[in-house]
């Protein structure tokens, strides 16, 4: 056995691409909520793109791997850092995870929320800059750009807040004020990201070599 589920979290299910073409017999097709992330995760570990995977929502599960296992984590999630903290993954996994998470969160946002095209380009630009920086072995710069990419990709959460506050103060928003509030959310996320990037580290940074070694 490769994997044991210690705690399933909230609504963790096994999902593949779904069974389509049977609704006329009363069958719900099911399937992954984010088919792009499913295909991406499968491709990364060498599966068929519609193979079954674990779909994880809201709270992550506790999983125990009984042997060395190749896994891919995709979709709009922020699980990468948590996995690192618990010693469940190393940078070889976390780096691509962060990149994929931010990219597919943008794909997810495009499909689910229909972001304005310009915003999507900015977020992708930030992610791509992250890749350029890491190729020059500039880890501090890479981290910063990845965080800016995240900040824009995960703007939807803050938008709920700004739209809610805006509506409480000024009533139902017009087309213009709505755009303004949406924009404000990305502004807030970027400001927080900048603050985190520029904040001096609380304890001395580990020597760069310790961080780099798994990547060699």
């Amino acid at each position: 056995m490769t994997l044991r589920v210690l705690r399933p979290g909230i609504l963790m299910t096994v999902q593949d691409a779904g069974r389509h073409g049977y609704q006329h017999l009363g069958l719900c097709p099911g399937g992954a909520m984010d088919p792009v992330a499913l295909a991406l995760a499968n491709a990364l570990v060498g599966n068929e793109t519609d193979d079954a995977a674990l779909e994880i929502t809201v709270l992550g599960p506790d999983l125990e791997f009984a042997q060395d296992t190749l896994v891919a984590l995709c979709g709009a999630l922020a699980a990468g850092p948590g996995l690192l903290k618990k010693g469940m993954a190393d940078l070889r996994l976390a780096m691509p995870v962060a990149l994929i998470a931010s990219t597919s969160s943008i794909f997810g946002a495009m499909m689910g929320l229909a972001l304005p095209a310009k915003v999507v380009q900015v977020a992708l630009g930030a992610t791509i800059l992250g890749i350029v920086a890491i190729r020059r072995r500039d880890f501090v710069g890479h981290g910063g750009w990845m965080m800016r990419g995240y900040a824009i990709g995960l703007g939807a959460g803050t938008q709920v807040l700004t739209l809610m506050v805006g509506e409480l103060i000024a009533g139902p928003p017009s087309e213009f004020s709505r755009a303004l509030l949406m924009g404000a959310a990305w502004g807030i996320n970027l400001a927080v990201a900048e603050w985190i990037i520029r904040k001096p580290p609380a304890r001395p940074a580990r020597p760069a070599s310790a961080v780099v070694s798994p990547l060699r």
């Binding site: 389509h20 073409g21 049977y22 609704q23 006329h24 017999l25 009363g26």
Partner: protein, 217 residues
């Protein structure tokens, strides 16, 4: 992504028959961008491939008009004939007495009228393989039970609202149970997983308890 083409908001067996003929015509065209054609009581749903580009409501309307212009298959050529053995013994029919009391018929009369009916599957839904069948004898019109049962045995044959159903699994149900079939209504391992599909013509054949027990052995 789906379009729902509605013809009637009330249950009308003639409209439903038309829906089945239209669904068969659309299904036979095998359009690659349609994943599923799902007939309902008074309309049908067309499920589109999510990659399909175009206004699906316009495309759906166009498709329906084209089918109507080219002509629909006759009702006799839509669906299959399905015969279902049913044991109406009391052990399988917890609501038979109550239905008899409500309709003013004897339990034997209820069974005879139910078994003599010619039914048509109006739509599938609620659970995999669960068929809503129209054509119930007007004398057997009873409402659903006031309190549904949390679990109904698989194969239970039940009536309510002028229709009859067979529960494919042990699931919750509120219809009046008057018999049970030994057949597996739905089995995902079969070539044809569902015993029924919308448009099928269904007859029941009364069997004894001994025949029920011997079934599938």
């Amino acid at each position: 992504m789906a379009a729902y083409v509605e013809f009637s908001r009330v249950l009308d067996l003639e409209v439903n028959e038309f829906v089945q003929r239209l669904a068969a015509a659309i299904h036979a065209r095998g359009e690659p961008w349609i994943r599923d054609v799902v007939p309902a009581l008074g309309g049908l749903a067309l499920h589109f491939d999510p990659d399909f580009e175009g206004a699906i409501s316009d495309v759906a309307a166009e498709l329906v008009e084209r089918c109507l212009k080219e002509g629909l298959p006759d009702a006799e050529n839509v669906g299959r004939e399905v015969e279902v053995p049913v044991c109406y013994d009391r052990v399988f029919a917890p609501d038979l007495e109550e239905v008899a009391a409500k309709t003013g018929l004897s339990p034997e009369e209820v069974v005879a009228r139910h078994a003599a009916g010619e039914y048509r599957v109006l739509m599938m839904g609620f659970a995999p393989g669960h068929a809503y069948m129209g054509g119930l004898d007007a004398k057997l019109a009873v409402p659903r039970r006031a309190t549904p049962r949390p679990v109904v045995p698989a194969g239970s044959v039940a009536i309510a609202s002028g229709q009859t159903v067979i529960y494919p699994y042990a699931i919750a149900g509120g219809w009046n149970i008057i018999g049970r079939t030994p057949l597996a209504v739905f089995d995902a391992r079969r070539e044809q997983p569902s015993l029924f599909a919308a448009g099928d013509r269904v007859r029941f054949r009364a069997i004894s308890g001994a025949e029920f027990e011997a079934f599938g052995r």
